[in-house]
Structure formats: C-alpha cells, structure tokens
C-alpha cells in the first residue's frame, strides 16, 4: 500500500485547532509493519538530522495528523518515529460543527458571572460621593402654650 508521510514543524499551540505547519520532509513508500493509527510507530529510512527539527507529521492514509512524540535513531539509515494523534487538528471541521455550553471564552463572555480567577490587591479603593444638598440652615422653634 502506498504510504505517504509529511514531516512538519508545528509552531502553534498544542491545543489550537488550526496549526501553523511548515513541511520539512515528504516521504512516500510502503507500510510494511503493523501500526496503530492512534499512536503510530513507523520506521523510516531517513537521516536523523533531517527529522530532528520535526515535531509534527501528517499521514493521509491514516487520515490523521500527529504530534511526534519520539524519534529514535536505529542506525545510520533508519529512524523510528512515534506519534500521537492530534485530534483537534484532525477533526477540526467536525468539531466546529458541534455546539457546546461554553464555560470560558476569550471574546464572548458575561462579566456578571462570578470569576474566581480574577485577582485583586489587598488595598481596596474608597470613593465618596456627596449628594450636593442637605441641611443648610438653622432656625429657632418656640412652642408657647395657648393659641
């Protein structure tokens, strides 16, 4: 079975759906050994130096993208690459079609909800606001018996 692997460098956050990828190496060949599609371990013929800068790979045959979790040099010719599926990037289209109850969000929020993560300083601010008018005179009052 024809098999292709794109070895890439991911410069985005791990938990980001849209990864910013740079392709470093594109290999094609045949998959000769058993491999998990979730946590693939693939032995390839390549120079270690070429792969050492790669932290990401895409395998179209598996339909998934992967974080490279380990690169082992077997000998001068072969390198064993281990990966774990990047579910966010692999299924980003389907994820975006789903609805959810959002707990915290960068742009859509309601600040009237209590947020325990907000920090305050120990010295509060005190503000005084006057009403502007009040008692501004003084007068005598004398009560005398009789009308």
């Amino acid at each position: 079975m024809a098999f292709g692997i794109l070895f890439q460098t991911n410069s985005s956050e791990k938990n980001k759906l849209n990864k910013s990828l740079t392709t470093n190496l594109n290999l094609t060949g045949e998959l000769k050994e058993d491999s998990s599609i979730i946590d693939p371990v693939i032995t390839i013929k390549a120079e270690l130096g070429t792969l050492s800068t790669c932290n990401y790979m895409t395998i179209d045959t598996f339909g998934r993208s992967y974080f490279i979790t380990n690169i082992e040099s077997i000998n001068n010719e072969f390198v064993r690459v281990s990966g774990h599926v990047d579910v966010l990037s692999t299924y980003k289209k389907e994820i975006r079609r789903n609805s959810a109850i959002i707990k915290r969000q960068q742009n859509q929020w309601n600040l009237y909800l209590n947020d325990g993560s907000l920090k305050v300083y120990q010295n509060p601010e005190v503000q005084t606001i006057s009403f502007g008018s009040g008692f501004n005179t003084m007068e005598f009052v004398m009560a005398v018996a009789g009308g």
Binding site: N98, A100, K103, Q106, T128, G134, V141, A145
Partner: protein
C-alpha cells in the same frame, strides 16, 4: 353491597393507557353472602359459575354502538372469581370502556361519549345479558355522576334492580360509592321484571383510549417493598418550574407629610422667631412691663407657658405672624408663626454607576455605605443600589425634632432611618440638666466603634478567590448616633462611601484564560481561547479514544 373494585392499576403513556382492574365478587345484602359475579334477589344461595369471560378479541371502532365481543381470558380463577383484566383502550373521549364479568356471556360495549354499562339479568333461570347505555348528557346532569366524573380512574360498581313497572330501574345505594337514577328507559333494556344485575363502569379521565386486544394481560405491578426504612418518609418526585416569572414591581413613593399638626390644636402656638425677636421676648419677660401679679393669678411660673425652645436645621414653614402671648398676656412682640409641625428636606440624588460592569460591582466585592445627617452612617446593599439613582429626602418634625431619612432607589423608597435633629435650648434649670444629660449620652455612643465581620464571598471548593478579599475584611462603623447637638455640628449633607477592590489584571488575561461565558454556541462561530462546560460530540468519525480525548481537550481549554 354491590361489587367493589380494587387492585386496579393505571399506567399511561403518550398514546394509550392501560387499565387493570379486578372485579371482586358481589354481595347480597339479604343473605349477607358474598357471591361471585352475580347477585340475585330470589335465589341467594345459587352460585352461578362463570363459564367464560369475555376478552377483547377484536378491534372496536371508536363510536361503535352496541358492539359486542366475546372470548376467553386465560388465567381466570373460578374459585376466587378474580381475574385481572388487561384492557388497552384508546379513543378520543374521556371515558374508557367498562368491562364486566358475569354469567353467561359478557359483552363489552364501547360507545363514544357514553358510559359503558352492562347488566346481567336473571330471567326465569335463563341468563340474558343486555346492555345499558347512559347518555353523557344525562350523566352530566346527575350531580353524583358529575362529581364522580371528576375523580380520576376509579371504578365504581352499583347495583340496579328491575322492579315493577317493567323497564324501570332503581338505584341501590352503594356503601362508600354513589348511585344514580335514570328513568327514560332509553338507556336500559331488560327482558323481565325480576332482573338483578350489577352495573360496572369505568369512569377514569383517560384520553386517547383505543380498543385493543390482549388475551394475556400483564401482571399487576409488584407492590413497593416495605423493607426500605426510609420508605415511610415519602418518595422523590420530579417537579419545579411553573413559576409565575412575574417581576412587576410597585412604586413605593415618598409618604406625604402628616396632615395634623400640633399647631392646629390651638393648645399651643409654634413660633419661628429670629434671634432678635428672641432677645426682645427675653427682655420683656424680665422687665417691669411683664405684669407678674396678673400672670400669677393664672400660672405659678411664667416659664410654664413656654413649652419648648429649640434650634432646628430646617426652614420652618411659615404661617404668618402673631404677637407672643404668655399666659394670655400679650407681650406685643411679633414673631413668625409656624404653619405646620412638619417639613420636608430634599437632599438630592446620586446615580451610582458600575465601575467595571461586572460581578465586581456587586456584593460582596463592592461595599456601599450612606452617611445621613442626624442618622449616622448605614450600609446599603450594593445589589440594591448599583446602577441606580439614590435619592435622600428627610421629613422633620420641628416640634419634637424627630426626623426620618427616606432613601429611594429609582423612585422607590427602600430604606428609612430615624434620627433626632433638634437641639433643645434650656430655659429652666430642669431643661439645662436634660440637655447636659442628653449630650453626654450622645457622646458615649459616638465613642463606640464597632467592627463586625464582613460577609464572605462565594468561594470555589478548595480555593480562596482573591476577589473575596474585600468581603472578608471587617466592617467598621464610621459613625455612631449623630442626634441633637452632635448632629448639628456634624456634616449636614448626605454622602456615599463606596469601597471597591483594586484589580490586578495581567495583560491579555482573556486570551490565556478567557472569562466566564455560559452560553450555548456552535464552536465554529467563536474564536480564541475556549473552555467547554458541556458538549455532546456528534458527527466525528474518530475512535472512542479520540472522541474522549476531544471532549477532554475542549473542557480543559482549546484555541478555536
């Protein structure tokens, strides 16, 4: 008497309802013998075995009239004459079918909007069954039926006896039940004059009943076990909702000043003298112009006529002028009189704007206190006043010096505080003593500074929210009683004291942590840092492990 029905069970669902009932044996009051399924006034010793029991073997159309079916129900116990009947009935009426077990053959009638009645008659040793139908109109006209009609899912049995003249049926009063009467003959048929039968009918409030067939009725539900020691305490139930969602509010307006005043009694006159007029009166009282001898014919002490002299911090409402008469002796000194004992002092309003437009503007994070002249400093519930207009208005009794401060929130009076705003001027030795004692009492209360514990903010379990800091700090009273002379020397204008937390906000905190949201949104419609509270993932062709990981990542925070 008659036949009672028990052990019925009703279960309903959206489309049809199932009714179980067990018909017990009948009872002959003359012989005091319990008979199975049959009553006879002439042969009480006879036991007529039921050879067959009708089952619903065919679909009875809705609205069918006098439709009869027959069949056999399995499981019938001829010894006890008990059998559960499993009837599934649906129609569009509120009345279900009635079913009877009795001798010979049984018919099951279903007539739309009719009670289903079935009678068993013993006519000359031959059993004839006939059907009786009661019009709903007639039934509705009967108070007992009408009342009964409202009872949910009860099965009542009553007995009728056909007596002379023919075709006239008489009700048997039912012990614990009810009876009815009818006399038009149109709803009953019989073949002889000595029939006795029993009528049973099912009058539950069941909707959408359809006739169906089930010869193998389901067993009745197992009674609730009594082994649970908590069972007598009652079971749980679903409920809630149904609130009125009525948030309409009545305006609580500022009250009017009292309409009755001491000045209107005629027993005293309130003067509003100037300082010069007071000096003139004092000079007169101590001068030779004041005829003490004449005065002493009526009073012992001239000062008895001056009931009180005080300083008040308000404009006394003017009622014209008059000369001062001391013990009916006209001093000739003219003074302004007070038209009323009461006056109002508006102090204006302040709109308290939110500082953040967030939860920090409210309790327990932001604290608000209100200083009121002559009443002291009082805390306001921040949630009551934030974002609203606070208005302060005093009503003052110039005679006693009592005052009340009304605090209105958006036009509705929500707080009121009482105080004392007059300073008595001693004109006798007793007055002087009282004034001094009053001043000492006030001074003592000013000296006491009370610190009370602050209200605590809601905290996450295992976490102390730093925003709760302000609320955990002790509340310290900023003033004691400010009445009388102390109040006159204090600040004469109300003011608010707002204590709010000082935020410590790192740059772009929302991009790292987000802010609380709690909305339902499609994930494709939002961007940026997102934590999900709850999601049901669909349409993702991943393995179970992948789906679990997606949900876990969404809940821990992703960047869309």
């Amino acid at each position: 008497m008659g036949v009672s029905v028990s052990n019925y069970h009703v279960r309903s669902n959206l489309y049809h309802k199932q009714v179980y009932f067990t018909v017990l044996a009948g009872y002959d009051s003359e012989s005091d013998i319990l008979y199975p399924g049959y009553m006879s006034g002439y042969n009480p010793q006879s036991l007529i075995p039921i050879t067959e029991v009708n089952a619903l073997t065919e679909q009875i159309p809705v609205g069918a009239d006098n439709h009869s079916i027959s069949g056999t129900i399995s499981g019938f116990d001829a010894t006890t004459w008990h059998t559960p009947l499993h009837i599934i009935a649906t129609d569009n009426t509120n009345y279900a079918i009635g079913c009877y077990i009795y001798v010979s053959y049984k018919t099951l009638l279903g007539v739309e909007n009719y009670y289903f009645v079935q009678c068993c008659w013993n006519g000359s040793d031959s059993w004839v069954s006939s059907s009786c139908q009661f019009s709903i109109t007639k039934a509705a006209a009967d108070p007992a039926l009408t009342a009964y009609n409202k009872l949910p899912q009860y099965i009542y049995m009553s007995m009728i006896r056909n007596d002379t003249p023919a075709n006239v049926y008489y009700p048997y009063p039912m012990s614990g039940g009810w009876y009815f009467s009818y006399d038009d003959g149109e709803t009953a048929r019989t073949v002889n004059q000595t029939d006795v039968g029993f009528i049973s009918y099912l009058i539950p409030q069941l909707n959408n009943l359809h006739y169906d067939v089930d010869e193998n009725p389901e067993p009745q539900p197992t009674p609730v076990s009594n082994d649970d020691p908590y069972s007598p305490g009652g079971s749980s139930w679903t409920g809630g909702g149904g609130g009125a969602y009525n948030s309409e509010s009545d305006d609580i307006d500022l009250p009017d000043l009292p309409s009755l005043s001491a000045a209107a009694t005629g027993f005293l006159t309130l003067f509003n003298p100037s300082a010069a007029q007071m000096r003139s009166l004092a000079q007169y009282m101590w001068s030779g112009l004041f005829d003490v001898d004449t005065f002493r014919k009526i009073f012992a002490d001239p000062m008895q006529c001056i009931l009180g002299l005080s300083i008040v911090p308000v404009n006394v409402p003017s009622g014209g002028s008059d000369t001062v008469k001391v013990g009916n002796i006209d001093t000739g000194i003219s003074m302004t009189t007070a038209s009323s004992q009461y006056t109002s002092v508006p102090c204006g309003s302040v709109t308290i704007d939110e500082y953040w437009g967030s939860y920090l503007d409210y309790e327990p994070y932001t604290k608000i206190e209100l200083y009121l002249p002559y009443c002291g400093t009082h805390p306001l519930n921040t949630d009551d006043v934030m974002g609203k207009t606070v208005t302060v208005t005093y009503h003052v009794d110039v005679l006693s010096g009592a005052c009340i401060a009304f605090v209105g929130i958006n036009g509705t009076v929500m707080y009121s505080y009482a105080g004392q705003c007059s300073v008595s001027i001693p004109i006798t030795g007793n007055d002087w003593t009282n004034v001094i004692n009053g001043a000492l009492s006030i001074a003592g209360s000013i000296g006491s500074m009370v610190a009370t514990g602050g209200a605590t903010a809601p905290m996450a379990i295992g976490q102390i929210a730093s925003t709760a800091v302000n609320s955990m700090k002790p509340n310290v009273e900023k003033s004691g009683s400010l009445s009388g002379g102390a109040g006159l020397m204090a600040i004469q204008t109300p003011y608010l004291i707002i204590t709010r937390p000082r935020q410590a906000l790192p740059e772009r905190q929302n991009s790292f942590m987000g802010y609380p949201s709690f909305i339902t949104e499609q994930l494709g419609n939002i961007s940026g840092y997102t934590e999900v509270e709850s999601v049901h993932l669909t349409g993702i062709p991943g393995t179970d492990v992948e789906l679990s990981e997606i949900e876990s990542l969404l809940k821990s925070g992703v960047i869309l």
